[in-house]
């Protein structure tokens, strides 16, 4: 079990927040998730069950929330990510 807030935790927090606000944007966001789920469903080899679609919509909401929340942590402008590409003349890296 990962030691971190799960998407479910994030979602729960988000749901509480959304319910408290009850703003018109909520309906638009839900509609956007439904259309995303339907679009995604067409890309899978087999259609998702209705239960899976509901959970997918919730998970997508969690990902959106994480995407918004992370903006609260400002990183130094132009800071580097923690990986570096090493050029190699070999066909496979690490060999």
């Amino acid at each position: 079990m990962p030691n971190r807030p799960s998407r479910r935790d994030v979602l729960t927090a988000a749901s509480v927040g959304l319910a408290a606000m009850a703003v018109p944007g909520v309906a638009a966001a839900r509609s956007s998730q439904v259309s995303t789920v339907n679009a995604m469903d067409k890309e899978f080899a087999k259609p998702l069950s209705e239960d899976a679609k509901k959970l997918l919509a919730e998970s997508l909401k969690g990902i959106e929330t994480a995407s918004t929340d992370r903006l609260k942590t400002k990183l130094p402008e132009n800071s580097e990510p923690c990986f570096t590409y090493f050029p190699s003349s070999r066909e496979v890296r690490g060999k």
Partner: protein, 457 residues
């Protein structure tokens, strides 16, 4: 033959060297226990009986090859094993077979160790955010101590089988908690090494930049022996580090950092007592402690984004394929599918945060390691969704996994008859500090020598 299935690696090695037992006998003993006890806990993915007996005969014919020669072990079913199914705990990968061994499996084979079984795990290491213990091909893996409790994940079978004395030792993997959790829930000692210390070649990727492989054993001593055998560079894994592992820590006793714990808020009186007992035992041996704090950064959300993005990429073919919905837990279907939608800018933010999080290394100016409970409570029930039961569990909320720091989980007490665990976290490449502190604690305590009643009968 008179050797306990809970014997240490050195005890078994000595018994083998003294011809008091043969590797074939040890192997048969453990195979028998895997078939009965471990299977009753849904801990076995695949027995490798004929291979094991062949390897055991070879080990008996060449004594003294290494301390692991003739010692039977099991591996998490996420590691490739030549010609043996490797299903990653997933019903959708039921017929998957590789024609090569993972580097660490090969290293152990070269050392003369005997592969008994592939051990069950949470499907795809739980990357889709599983919510039930049943997120595993063989059903919920049950705690070695109480079959109503979960064995932890995602290295579930490795933790349960080791605690039940069904293997000499086992291998697990951790992206974010998967060695520490089953070690804590089963009363094992598990060693999550520094990222890159052990080659990942042949291991299922959940998250290339976070995955670590390490031993789950019954003591720090055993963990040290196994880690020594599997660590090292590998031409097949560019992330495998060249620095030599040296567990022989010398000099003054490491200073132990203590982060602010939430025992009261988490209703964790039992864990608090166990925690204080560990500190008492260590202080009597001359260890000093100091309060420390990490910089306040969103370590866990960053891990979440990274695991989502890398996991979805690593398994994209499967996610978009015919078998995707064969995953046991519908939450995993939803989670992996949703992870396809993680934005590149979010992933890059998380990887930039990881650079920023290196500031947390300042904590090592004040101490040499950190002691914290693995969780505040014993294992959760195996038959209820985690979002209902994973309450007040706590756990390391610091940067240790994000920054690839090593940790050793070890048993520190019991809550209602089930084990609770602690962990020693150390700076990158300082596995020797984890090893020294836990070994010293285990020399003066016996929690690691207690075994489930079922396994003793």
């Amino acid at each position: 033959m008179s050797i306990s299935p809970f014997s240490s690696i050195r005890q078994m090695s000595k018994a083998l060297a003294d011809r008091k037992v043969s590797s074939v006998e040890l192997t048969q003993m453990y195979l028998g226990r895997l078939k009965t006890i471990a299977k009753g806990h849904n801990a076995v993915a695949e027995l490798t009986e004929s291979l094991a007996l062949e390897q055991a005969r070879k080990a008996d014919a060449s004594p003294g090859k290494s301390v692991l020669n003739g010692i039977p072990f099991g591996v998490k079913d996420l590691l490739a094993t030549k010609g043996i199914p490797t299903r990653w705990g997933s019903p959708g990968h039921a017929d998957q077979m590789f024609d090569y061994n993972a580097t660490i499996v090969q290293k152990l084979e070269d050392a003369g160790a005997v592969l008994l079984a592939k051990l069950e795990m949470i499907e795809l290491a739980g990357g889709g955010n599983y919510n039930v213990a049943n997120a595993s091909r063989m059903g919920p893996c049950l705690s070695a101590w109480d079959k109503t409790l979960w064995a932890g994940g995602s290295s579930s079978g490795s933790g349960a089988s080791t605690a039940l004395g069904c293997v000499g030792f086992s291998l697990g993997s951790e992206t974010s908690g998967s060695i520490v959790c089953p070690s804590a829930f089963n009363g094992c000692t598990g060693f999550r090494p520094t990222y890159g210390r052990v080659s990942r070649h042949g291991a299922m990727a959940l998250c290339w930049t976070l995955d670590k492989l390490g031993p789950i054993c019954r003591s720090a001593e055993d963990c040290g022996i196994v880690l020594d055998a599997i660590a090292g560079p590998d031409p097949n894994d560019g992330s495998a580090m060249r620095e030599k592992l040296n567990l022989r820590s010398r000099g003054p006793k490491p200073k132990i950092g203590l982060v602010k714990e939430k025992f009261k808020d988490s209703k964790a009186e039992v864990c608090e007592k166990a925690y204080q007992n560990v500190l008492d035992v260590l202080r009597k041996q001359g260890y000093e402690t100091v309060e420390v704090a990490y910089p306040d950064l969103p370590y866990s959300p960053a891990i979440d984004i990274i695991v989502n993005a890398e996991g979805a990429s690593a398994h994209e073919h499967f996610i978009r394929g015919e078998r995707f919905q064969m995953l046991q837990d519908i939450n995993q279907v939803a989670g992996f599918a949703a992870a396809l939608e993680v934005k590149a800018v979010d992933y890059l933010w998380a990887m930039r945060l990881r650079s920023e999080a290196l500031k947390a290394n300042a904590v090592w100016d004040k101490c040499d390691c950190i002691f914290t409970p693995a969780f505040y409570h014993k294992a959760i029930p195996a038959d209820q969704p985690f979002d209902k039961t994973w309450v007040n569990m706590g756990g390391d909320e610091g940067p240790s996994n994000l920054l690839g720091w090593p940790a050793m989980a070890f048993p520190i007490g019991f809550e209602d008859g089930a084990p609770i665990g602690g962990q020693i976290i150390a700076p990158a490449m300082r596995e020797d500090v984890c090893f020294r502190v836990v070994r010293d604690f285990q020399r003066k305590s016996d929690f690691h020598e207690k075994h489930p009643a079922e396994a003793l009968s």
